[in-house]
């Protein structure tokens, strides 16, 4: 437990080599989709980046504060439906809808945090699980408002700065997500390296000791959960307008979806933030690329999760010292 935080927060020296490596990876992210100019490659990049980001946000809760949200897909649904319904019923501009999705999910996260104050670990996982499920079933039970299992058709983003956001212009969506992701990652990176981030880690390691040092554990738990939920809601909103159709099926917003994000976080390495991005590209990239293989590709998720729990408890981040 103590080691993976040490690895994550240890030495971040701005050596020239490190700057070059980061620049090279960023250049790959920026250059590959437009150069490949292949809609399939771009979709794979969008999925991988989106799930990598969700994994990183999940890691902000799990890896930095020891909070596990097993109803995560329900929180994604809140963001996605929040933005989509704001457009559908009230004609709210989808760009602004991202913030609405974020705000609604933040409120949900705050309220869930408030009712979960007394519990942690497995019990928090179970509590959030039933919150997520209640939300998903509520969406499917109100077809008059959400169209339920019939599926809600969502508009694409409106054109902005002369750039067309029709869904055939996948590159516009990719670069929007990349920009959004850069902002989110930098914000989380700053947060975990600030005093607040130190408090999160202290909370994860030993809640009682943290409180005895005069830090208000409840306050930091709520803060972490609310921020992570807000960011989840924003990505959820993007997901809605990118995908174009939402339905509250289990695959979309139920257990399988939560497990996908959770696996990315565990495989990426808890408490590493960036590891999730790598895991996102590795797992989702692999999954999308080998769609022809059918269910065998999903077997990989289960096997990897078991391997990480048993043998490689720091995930991809554990490889850092060999390759970084």
């Amino acid at each position: 437990m103590t080691t993976w935080s040490a690895v994550a927060s240890a030495d971040w020296r701005l050596s020239t080599l490190r700057v070059l490596k980061v620049a090279a990876l960023l250049a790959l992210l920026v250059a590959v989709p437009p150069l490949a100019d292949n809609p399939f490659i771009t979709t794979v990049f969008i999925s991988a980046l989106m799930f990598g980001l969700l994994g990183a946000i999940y890691d902000l809760m799990l890896g930095y504060a020891g909070l596990i949200n097993f109803g995560y897909a329900g929180f994604m649904a809140a963001g996605a439906y929040g933005s989509a319904l704001a457009w559908f019923h009230y004609g709210v501009n989808p760009w602004f809808g991202l913030l609405i999705g974020g705000a609604i999910t933040a409120v949900l996260g705050f309220l869930t945090g408030v009712i979960s104050l007394r519990i942690k670990g497995l019990y928090l996982a179970l509590m959030t699980f039933f919150v997520g499920e209640a939300l998903r079933f509520s969406i499917s039970n109100t077809p008059d408002y959400t169209r339920g299992m019939l599926g809600l058709t969502v508009a694409p983003f409106p054109d902005m700065l002369g750039i067309s956001f029709s869904r055939s212009n996948l590159l516009a969506y990719y670069f929007t997500l990349l920009l959004l992701g850069a902002v989110i990652m930098m914000a989380m990176w700053t947060l975990v390296r600030s005093k607040i981030g130190v408090a999160f880690k202290a909370l994860r390691e030993d809640e009682l000791a943290t409180e005895s040092l005069g830090l208000n554990a409840t306050h930091y738990k709520l803060l972490n959960f609310t921020i992570a939920s807000f960011l989840t809601g924003v990505i959820g909103g993007f997901y809605a307008h990118y995908l174009g159709i939402l339905s509250p099926s289990p695959e979309e917003f139920g257990v399988p979806r939560t497990v996908e994000v959770l696996t990315i976080t565990y495989v990426g390495g808890r408490g590493s933030l960036w590891g999730s991005l790598f895991a996102g590209f590795l797992l989702i990239g692999f999954q999308e690329y080998f769609r022809g293989l059918g269910p065998i590709r999903l077997l990989l998720f289960g096997i990897l999760l078991i391997i990480v729990m048993l043998f490689a408890r720091r995930g991809i981040a554990g490889l850092k010292k060999y390759v970084w």
């Binding site: 077997l299 998720f301 408890r313």
Partner: protein
Amino acid sequence: MDLAMYTDPSVLTEILLQGLVRGSMYALMASGLSLIFGILGVNNFAHGELFMIGSYTMFFIVATLQLPFVAGLVAAALVLFLVGMLIERGLIEQLRKRAGRDWLLDSFVLTIGLMILLQNLALVVFGSNRLGIPEMVSGSLIIGSIIISYERLIILAVAALTVLLLWAFIRFTAPGKAIRATAQNPEAALALGIDTMRVHTYTFGLGAALAGLSGALLISIFPAYPTVGLQPIVKSVAVVILGGLGYVPGAIVAGLLLGVIEAFAYFTMSAGWQNVLTAALVVLIMIFRPYGLFSSAKGERP
């Protein structure tokens, strides 16, 4: 809806009976989950997949080999007993050597991995077809205006018998005593010469066998397909929380209670809201009584 219907005794009896049948399925499934949690501290999320293996076993014994239903039930329990012991030795015990104070969460996540693995393995091996058996027996018992199918009555009887046998096993046999001792105080049990590692293994086997038996017994309602376990696992986790994590008698009572509550909910609410009601109930219980409705014997703080 007509208000008089709610006070009609025959309607109430029928709902109550339907609820008890539904509840007995929940109790059977959840007692295994609760037993495993109580002894090993593992909230086995792959329990639904053990249920799934049970329904496949039932299908092959009864539909493919044309053997009687009883053979299918016994085979499912035996197969899952072995599978369960294998899982405990191969995975859970391996994790126990490595995980520290985060055991509860880490073992939970490990079983999530197992869940995905088993689901997709089933998809690769059996495909996504639903393999069902129409019903074990046809016909219904009719008393006055109360109608209940023989099929459901058999389910109720087998579930009740199994729970009774489970209770007798834990209460009166030597291995049962070892299970109780391990649940009360693992270190003391070990010091008194009880092989707690073995207790872990056969307890997991026993819990898995109960899941397999549920899957086999309910095949006319839940046909065998790879993700059939999702619904039963959600219900049994709910029941286990309501009854108090790790407290088997609590799970049985809570299972019956939830069955009756849902039966009334199906009668009074529009379709689909029962799931929301169940989830809301669990959330409320976790807020106000985190140890469950019936205080856990272990009295462990969540």
